[in-house]
Amino acid sequence: MQTSQLANPLATVEQISSSGSQLDGIPADLEHSIQFAGARLTQAAGILLRLPQEIIAQAIVIFTRFWIGSEGGSLAEYGAEQVSSASLYLIAKLSAYPKSPRSILNVYAYLDSFSSTFIEPGKLQANNPESYYLSEGSYHAQRTLLLRTEAHILRILGFQTHVSLPYTLCINYLQTLDVFSQPRASELAKRAFAHLNTALLSPQLLYLTHQPPCLATAAIYLAAREVGVKLPDNEWWEVFDTDREELGFLVVGLMSMEGFVAEEKAQWGKRKVPMSVDDVEAEIERRKIMNGNG
């Protein structure tokens, strides 16, 4: 069957209802926390590598696809940081902005130097970059791991590296809706883009379950309500291949992100979310002891 280049491969029901980590006994809430932190790490690393957002977004989608399904990658086998860096490396390589393993690994080493997982975006460059770099020995070890992880990602995804994104569609739809003649149009566009960026981090895996046209439509709908820009009275979303039910689901999903992020922040506080296989083991061990004591 002919598939459009605008369409994404979507997760199957089976893939959503199971995961490699779950089968290995990783608690679901921990899995969500790690995936969220990993997606955020990918975004941060992409910004520091000065990659365009479309590359970063594609890498986050690849990162997210890697974990789902009974035959997806398991946190007991792959660390989130390692999969994040390999996703970014892979997608950048396919783009017009390839990055060397050394640049990628240096950036991840630098980000690892922060004591908390939840770095404020404005403070991404607060630490002195020059005091955090890889020694030659650990560079070689990590590069081997990076390239091996890349090969594993490709195998688990069956070499499906196609990711189409809703950003350009979003602008296109805003133009179609003729909002750019309205005074707060650029604020609306920015807000819609912000929602699209946030949706990348969603524990509901919105980019794996919904097509770009629906994501763009939902982002516009919500942003227009927040900014106060008037959109047509009729069911305009149907023009963009989105029905009311899906629109509603996505809008609720987007609105729930704020609460989810706040919860994650509160839960982890100044502690780090475990981003390697060893750290995950240690965290599970810690939970066992805590439960034993309590």
């Binding site: 089976e14 995804l157 291949d241």
Partner: protein, 459 residues
């Protein structure tokens, strides 16, 4: 503007009331819609009671080793039934299967990016072509060319493009194979065994098929960047399919920065690439199509240069010397600075018409336009398909009427003939080292005309 703002503020209450009214209206409307939808659905269910069954069957008959969990299947089916909007058909992903599912039959050939063999899928008995990817630049991880090949092939579903069925892997991380449709011939080997070139009607059919594939690729923003007869496969029903996407890549408008000019096998490489442009696009594929057209006419590759310099001089010999009028700006291309072109602007035009005396004038018009030195003057694939050449007699032969040939790939190991392969990554063109002197190419031309004897003037 300020007036508008304050008015907006004043009317806030009114707006709210109105919104309330609207909401109620909308609720009514949606309830109505819901009702209608349900009615429609019921009607549909009565009309075709088997639809939902079929849908699940389709999902199931795909050979997969993925664990299937029972819940939600029925829910999913009803959900899809309710939707009335047209949807993109979404593909899925899953882990690679093992190459052990295939038994290798015989070796076909070694391309620039891998080894190809004929194989049979043990479960289905289907014969496929199995291409093992070469893992050369392991310092950079998985070769980007192989990734692009997979990505572009996956996107290309067209009757005249070889189908990639899946990617399978072996036991080590470096063992990756592409499972593709098997076709009996490639055009190059086939032509070598033919006593006479293809008939004009057959050439038209081949070109139309090739053109439609190139049109599809370009419409999908894919450059093949290595079109040549050995990359065009053919089955025994006269159908051709483009293969070997080892150099293919996505492009854009404007083109992505810093594209390598090291694409396309030398004999099919467009002049702008030889002159070192980094800013190229669809016309490079069209040039290759022109070269293939010429090759089909004579059964001989059209421009067999020994190296970049020789290729360029062969091109100028055939197509004439470019001038600032025929190709504005060509002198600013990186490798053009070292060119020394003949100073006389007289008859240094194309000799294509005289080289193919048996081609109709529409045919040579088409060939001349495909082989325009100036990339901007080459037709698009769509324009090419609409060319009068394909409308005049002899009409394109139906593929069903094509002769069949014994398949070399199917039975025996092929003999490899000497022909250049696709450029390797890394070997930069060394054109600017020696000063290139093209001034001699047409040196003898003025004399020729004064020679004795009768000659039909074709140029």
């Amino acid at each position: 503007m300020t007036g508008g703002k304050s008015r907006w503020m004043n009317e806030e209450e009114d707006a709210e009331v109105e919104a309330q009214r609207k909401r109620e209206k909308e609720e009514k409307k949606s309830a109505k819609l819901e009702k209608q939808r349900k009615l429609e659905e019921e009607a549909r269910r009565r009309a075709e009671p088997t639809t939902s069954k079929n849908r699940t069957d389709i999902g199931l008959d795909r050979p997969t080793k993925r664990r299937r969990l029972s819940p939600d299947k029925d829910e999913l089916v009803t959900a899809t039934q309710q939707m009335k909007l047209l949807r993109f058909s979404a593909s899925e992903w899953g882990p690679c299967r093992l190459v052990d599912n295939f038994e290798r039959l015989n070796h076909i050939e070694e391309g620039s990016y891998g080894w190809v063999s004929r194989a049979r899928e043990s479960a289905t008995g289907e014969v496929v072509a199995l291409k093992k990817l070469k893992m050369d630049n392991l310092n950079d991880g998985f070769p980007v060319t192989a990734l692009r090949e997979i990505q572009t092939l996956k996107e290309s579903k067209h009757r005249h493009i070889v189908g990639l069925r899946e990617v399978v892997v072996g036991n080590t991380l470096d063992d990756v194979y592409l499972v593709m449709e098997f076709l009996e011939h490639d055009l190059k080997t086939l032509q070598e065994d033919m006593a006479e070139p293809f008939l004009p009607s057959e050439i038209k059919t081949l070109l139309l098929q090739l053109g439609s594939a190139v049109e599809y690729l370009h419409d999908h923003w894919i450059l093949h960047a290595n079109l040549k007869t050995s990359n065009i496969l053919m089955n025994n029903r006269g159908e051709i399919k483009i293969a070997d996407f080892g150099m293919a890549r996505y492009f854009g408008d404007p083109p992505p920065p810093k594209m390598t000019q090291l694409v396309v096998t030398l004999w099919y490489r467009a002049p702008e690439l030889l002159l070192g442009t980094e800013d190229y696009g669809k016309p490079i594929d069209i040039w290759s199509v022109g070269c293939i057209f010429g090759e089909l006419l004579t059964k001989e590759p059209l421009l067999q240069g020994k190296n970049e310099v020789d290729e360029l001089s062969k091109i100028f010999e055939l197509c004439g010397i470019p001038t600032e009028e025929t190709w504005p700006g060509f002198k600013r291309l990186p490798n053009a600075r070292s060119l020394r072109l003949p100073r006389t602007h007289q008859t240094v035009g194309s000799v294509i018409r005289s080289k193919f005396p048996f081609l109709t004038s529409a045919g040579s018009q088409l060939l001349i336009s495909l082989l325009s030195l100036n990339p901007a003057r080459r037709p698009t694939a769509t324009e090419m398909l609409a060319h009068p050449y394909f409308k005049e007699d002899p009409r394109p032969k139906s593929t069903a009427m094509f002769p069949t040939f014994p398949s070399k790939a199917g039975q025996e190991r092929r003999k490899r003939m000497a022909s250049p392969s696709a450029p390797k990554r890394g070997d930069a063109p060394k054109m600017d080292v020696q000063g290139l002197d093209f001034s001699g190419i047409f040196a003898g031309r003025d004399m020729e005309e004064s020679g004795a004897g009768f000659q039909l003037k074709l140029v």
